[in-house]
Symmetry: C2
Subunit: 250 residues, 2 copies
């Protein structure tokens, strides 16, 4: 277990070797074992294996080629639809058309996703999370035909790795953990916490290619700009509302 | 790995045996290895070990005794504060005061939490997630002194188990997985999917104690009522806004 966790690397190049049904089912069932609020399991997993469908998904995920190349794409959705239907069929009035319920279901979906990711890696598969899922949730809702109560939250690309990248840097312990209370960061703390990341050879290369002053500017100007974030915030909130999770907030 | 995942049980009774610093640090570092968006690691983990502080936390988490009894409580927060400070110190203007950034940070926090949960279990510890974190996020922000950009998302109770409960039921495969598109559920599907859960002896007992018709009514009337959900939705959205993540949405 610890070995799998500590050797995790995001894989972006996959062999076209298919994943056996037996193995795929096993890693999906590993997802089911994750904790969920009140054991409600208010999430769904949509499996994409069809070549045409993967091509279309690839477009939605900003053309990241691995979405087309990997054998299996798993879209994890917050899902109160199934639970609501059950309640209604049992003469129980569901009260899950609100933001808390959306967030609860998103937590369920994400904990299940990480179980699936680790189970995949423990079995020799590679994975990549797609952050584009929340950006494109409106298109994914349409593509998968998600009913009311269902919102795509994250996506896992899964397949046999066709690359073996190095372990990626992480912030030091003091950059993540707080004891008893949140100790806010001094300017010196910030310098220390980001020192390793800033001094990596690949960081120097990125700065050169992007013709910017430093790594932080690459994040704010190129990778995750305010303009994009604001645009996708509005889109994602609209999806949450359209799927029925924003009632009774006034 | 698969064994740890498939044997997961939520533990609600803990020994007061402390967790060694070495082991605690190892399971926290397991959290750091989880994937995060753009490797930004926009989350923090707050460790509570102090007895007085655990008592206060216990109150905030609706008096669940294990919060006081277990040796370690870990609160996972979405955190753009550190990243924003870094950007500003590097002449880069952060654009992360919006809902997408909040949700991105929440995803980071949750994937890290599940790594920590599994690493804990792989080392003989037990865990319990506290859903009350989002309900009480306003109080937790104050308690931990969380600055702008920081929102508590979930909590893990961690310690050596003082009980050995049975594995808990899960919905069948067809209740969670969809192939290629979301196949909405018929009335018969719903009956089949919830059949096992509804026929458990403990379900019969719960229905009797609660003097209700069925399990679904226990969820809608007792455990997760509309009234509570609406109340906590408003509260949680206010916290997200107060911590600076709801700008530019109009």
């Amino acid at each position: 277990m610890m070995d799998t966790i500590f050797k995790h690397k995001t894989i972006r190049k996959y062999k076209n070797t298919p994943i056996s049904d037996e193995l795929l089912n096993q890693i999906l069932e590993a997802g089911f074992r994750a904790s969920t609020t009140g054991n409600m399991q208010v999430y769904s997993i949509i499996v994409t294996k069809d070549i045409e469908k993967k091509k279309q998904l690839c477009g939605m995920h900003f053309g990241q080629k691995m979405v087309e190349e990997a054998p299996v794409i798993l879209t994890f959705c917050a899902d109160f639809n199934r639970f609501n239907k059950w309640c209604k069929q049992r003469n129980a009035e569901p009260g899950y058309d609100n933001y808390l319920s959306f967030f609860t279901a998103a937590i369920d979906a994400l904990l299940a996703a990480q179980n699936v990711a680790l189970a995949a890696e423990a079995n020799g598969l590679g994975i990549c999370y797609l952050g584009t899922t929340t950006y494109q949730a409106d298109k994914l809702v349409e593509f998968f035909n998600c009913p009311d109560g269902v919102v795509p939250i994250t996506t896992l690309v899964v397949g046999y790795p066709d690359e073996n990248p190095e372990l990626v840097d992480r912030l030091p312990f003091k950059g993540i953990v707080h004891n008893e209370t949140y100790k806010d960061y001094s300017a010196t703390d910030i310098d220390e916490i980001y020192q390793e990341k800033e001094s990596l050879p690949q960081t120097a290369e990125l700065i050169k290619i992007n013709e910017l002053e430093n790594l932080a500017q690459i994040f704010t100007q190129k990778r995750y700009s305010k303009k994009d974030n604001v645009h996708f915030s509005k889109q994602f909130l609209k999806v949450i509302e359209a799927q029925g999770f924003m009632n009774n907030i006034d």
